[in-house]
C-alpha cells in the first residue's frame, strides 16, 4: 500500500484529456449531470478514504460534513444576494464550520475505541438530519428548498469544468497531504496505533487533524453538490450518502485516492443505470439492498478493491522479475 500507484503519468494525462474534451463532443444534459456528480462524489469518497484508508478511522457519519456544506451554501445564497462574493463567503463559512465540527467531534470522540467512534458518528449525523428537519425557519424542514446561484454558474458545461477541476484539485491536494511527513504518520497510525505512539507521535492529534481535513473536503463536496442541484433537503445528511462514500472507497481500493475516483464513477453510473431499470422491476429501485450485496461481495472477494488488486498484481510481477 505504501507503493505509489504504478500507472504512468501518461495515463492520467490521457484520461484528463478525454474528460476535458467530453463536453465538447457530447453535451447531452444527462451525461453532463452524471459526470458532474461523479466528480463531486469522487471528492467526497477521497475525503472518506483519508479517514478509512489512510488513518484507519471508521466513520458512519461522514455525511454530516457533506450535508453541512450543502446547507451552508443553500442558506447563505438564500439570505444573501446571489453574487460571486456571497458564494466565496459561503465557501469560507463551510470551511470554518466543517473544521470546527471536525475538531470538536475529533477531540471529544476520537479517544474512543474505533467501533464506539463509528457508532457515535452515526448518531451525530442523525442529529444533524433531525436538526435540519426541525429547524424549519432556517431549513424549511424535510422538503428542503431551492436557492439561486450566480447566473453564470448555471451553465451546465461550465459547471462540468468547475467540478472537474474541483476533483483534480482535491486529488492533488489530498495526494500531497498523504505523501507529506504528516501523512506518512497517519498511515503508521492506521497500521499500528500503539507503535506510532511509542515512536513519540501524539496519536490523537493526528487523528483530529485527519478528521478536520476530511471534514473540510467532504463539506466542500457537499457545497458543490448543493450548487449542482440548486436545491437541498435533509437527504444530504442521510446514511446512504455515507454508505455511498464507503462503497466507492472500498470498491476502488482503500488507501488509494485514485481508487476513490474510480469507485465514484462505478457507483454513480450504477445508480444511474439502476434508476432506469427501476421501470423494469421495482427491486432495482432498492439501491440499499443492492448496496448490501455488492458490499458483502466486495469485502469477501475483493478486499483491496480495484486499484489495490492491480497494485498487488504489479508488485507480484515485479517480485517475480527480481
Amino acid at each position: 500500500m505504501i507503493r505509489k500507484l504504478t500507472a504512468p503519468p501518461i495515463w492520467y494525462g490521457i484520461i484528463a484529456a478525454i474528460l476535458l474534451i467530453l463536453p465538447l463532443v457530447n453535451d447531452s444534459r444527462s451525461t453532463l449531470i452524471l459526470m458532474t456528480q461523479i466528480f463531486i462524489f469522487a471528492v467526497f469518497a477521497m475525503s472518506y478514504d483519508l479517514l478509512l484508508g489512510y488513518t484507519g478511522i471508521i466513520s458512519f457519519g461522514h455525511a454530516m460534513f457533506f450535508g453541512l456544506g450543502a446547507y451552508t451554501v443553500g442558506i447563505w445564497m438564500n439570505r444573501q444576494d446571489e453574487s460571486l462574493f456571497s458564494l466565496l463567503m459561503a465557501i469560507l463559512v463551510t470551511v470554518i464550520l466543517c473544521a470546527l465540527l471536525g475538531y470538536v467531534l475529533g477531540v471529544v470522540t476520537l479517544r474512543l475505541k474505533s467501533h464506539f467512534y463509528a457508532m457515535l458518528t452515526l448518531a451525530v449525523a442523525g442529529l444533524f438530519q433531525v436538526g435540519a428537519e426541525k429547524w424549519r425557519s432556517l431549513t424549511m424542514g424535510n422538503d428542503g428548498f431551492t436557492f439561486s446561484i450566480p447566473e453564470w454558474l448555471m451553465d451546465r458545461q461550465l459547471f462540468y469544468y468547475i467540478a472537474f477541476f474541483f476533483m483534480v484539485g482535491g486529488f492533488l491536494l489530498l495526494r500531497r497531504f498523504t505523501l507529506s511527513p504528516l501523512g506518512r504518520i497517519l498511515q503508521a497510525i492506521r497500521e499500528n496505533e500503539q507503535r506510532a505512539e511509542s515512536l513519540g507521535y501524539r496519536v490523537l492529534h493526528y487523528k483530529v487533524i485527519s478528521n478536520i481535513v476530511a471534514g473540510i473536503v467532504a463539506g466542500l463536496a457537499g457545497l458543490m453538490y448543493g450548487l449542482a442541484l440548486r436545491f437541498v433537503n435533509t437527504g444530504v445528511f442521510g446514511v446512504d450518502i455515507t454508505l455511498d462514500g464507503l462503497l466507492m472507497t472500498i470498491i476502488g481500493g482503500v488507501g488509494t485516492l485514485v481508487g476513490s475516483i474510480i469507485g465514484a464513477a462505478l457507483i454513480q453510473i450504477a445508480h444511474d443505470w439502476l434508476t432506469d431499470l427501476a421501470q423494469v422491476h421495482w427491486l432495482f429501485e432498492r439501491w440499499i439492498i443492492l448496496f448490501g450485496i455488492i458490499y458483502i461481495l466486495a469485502v469477501r472477494f475483493f478486499p483491496q478493491g480495484i486499484v489495490g488488486s492491480i497494485q498487488r498484481l504489479a508488485d507480484r510481477w515485479k517480485e517475480r522479475k527480481m
Binding site: 507529506s180 511527513p181 504528516l182 506518512r184 507503535r195 505512539e197 511509542s198 515512536l199
Partner: protein, 252 residues
C-alpha cells in the same frame, strides 16, 4: 550513584494478580543494566510501566529528576526513553525502510509538516538506510514488513529503536526468536551502543548471554525484585541460585 531512571515502589496488578510488586530500583546513567528472570516474572510488564504503556496501581517512575508516572508513552519517547518490543510490533503494510524512516522522522522532530513531499527529507531516508545496514537488513528495505521472517522482524524492531536515538534504550529480549547465527551480530550492535555512552536496559531470558555485556543486573521473580548487583554478585547470590539460576537449565 546517579540514576537517570528510577522506580519507587512500582506496583501493578491485573485483577488479583500482582505482576510487578513494589519494585524500587535505579538505572545508572550510561550503563547497561540487564533484567533477568524466568518467564512470567514480570519483566515485560515492568518495561510497560517504564515506557508508559501501562499505568501503575502504585508507585512512581522518575526520569532525570522528574516524575513521569503519569506521562503518556509518546511523551516519554520524546523525553528520551525509547523501547523495543518483545512481541514484534511494527507497521506490517509499510516497507521496512518506511518503518525505520518513521522513527527517524520522529527523532528529527518533524511531526506536523504537511506541505512538502516526504521525499524532500532525503537525510531521513539516508539515515534509515544506515541504520538498516547496521542491523543487516538493508537488502530488504523495499519489502513490506509483514513479509519478513521472524528473525528479520526482530532486527527491524531493533532498527526502529536505534532510529529513535534516545538517551535511554529499553530492549525487550532483542534476540528472542532469531536463528543462532544471527544472534552474535545483534549482540555486537548492542555492544556498539554501549560504547556510545547510552543508558541501556536489557531484558534477557538467557542469562549467559548478557553476563559479560552487563555492568549490573537485576533479578525479577514473581513480580518482585529478588536481587541486584554486579554480574559476579548475582552469580554468587544464594537466593538467585535457588529461585532462578538453579532451575535455569531445565527452564531454558
Amino acid at each position: 550513584m546517579e540514576y537517570i531512571l528510577e522506580t519507587k515502589d512500582l506496583t501493578v496488578s491485573f485483577g488479583g494478580h500482582v505482576a510487578v510488586n513494589g519494585v524500587t530500583t535505579g538505572f545508572p546513567k550510561n550503563q547497561l543494566k540487564s533484567i533477568i528472570g524466568p518467564n512470567g516474572a514480570g519483566k515485560t510488564t515492568f518495561f510497560n510501566l517504564l515506557s508508559g504503556q501501562l499505568k501503575p496501581t502504585k508507585g512512581e517512575v522518575w526520569f532525570k529528576g522528574i516524575d513521569i508516572t503519569h506521562r503518556s508513552p509518546d511523551a516519554r519517547t520524546r523525553l528520551g526513553i525509547g523501547r523495543s518490543f518483545q512481541i514484534t510490533n511494527v507497521f506490517p503494510n509499510l516497507t521496512v525502510l518506511e518503518n525505520v524512516r518513521l522513527a527517524v522522522q520522529s527523532q528529527a522532530g518533524i511531526h506536523y509538516q504537511l506541505l512538502f513531499h516526504f521525499k524532500k527529507y532525503r537525510k531521513l531516508e539516508e539515515r534509515a538506510h544506515q541504520i538498516l545496514e547496521k542491523v543487516m537488513l538493508d537488502h530488504k528495505s523495499d519489502f513490506l514488513a509483514k513479509n519478513l521472517t521472524h528473525g528479520e522482524k526482530r532486527k527491524l524492531e531493533i532498527a526502529m529503536l536505534l532510529a529513535l536515538d534516545s538517551e535511554v534504550l529499553l530492549l525487550d529480549e532483542p534476540t528472542a526468536g532469531m536463528s543462532l547465527e544471527e544472534v552474535p551480530a545483534i549482540i555486537e550492535v548492542i555492544r556498539g551502543l554501549k560504547q556510545e555512552n547510552r543508558t541501556i536496559i536489557l531484558i534477557e531470558h538467557k542469562v549467559e548471554m548478557v553476563l559479560d555485556l552487563s555492568d549490573s543486573l537485576m533479578v525479577l521473580f514473581n513480580g518482585q525484585l529478588l536481587a541486584e548487583g554486579s554480574p559476579d554478585e548475582i552469580l554468587r547470590n544464594e537466593r538467585v541460585q535457588e529461585a532462578y539460576l538453579g532451575g535455569l537449565h531445565d527452564a531454558s
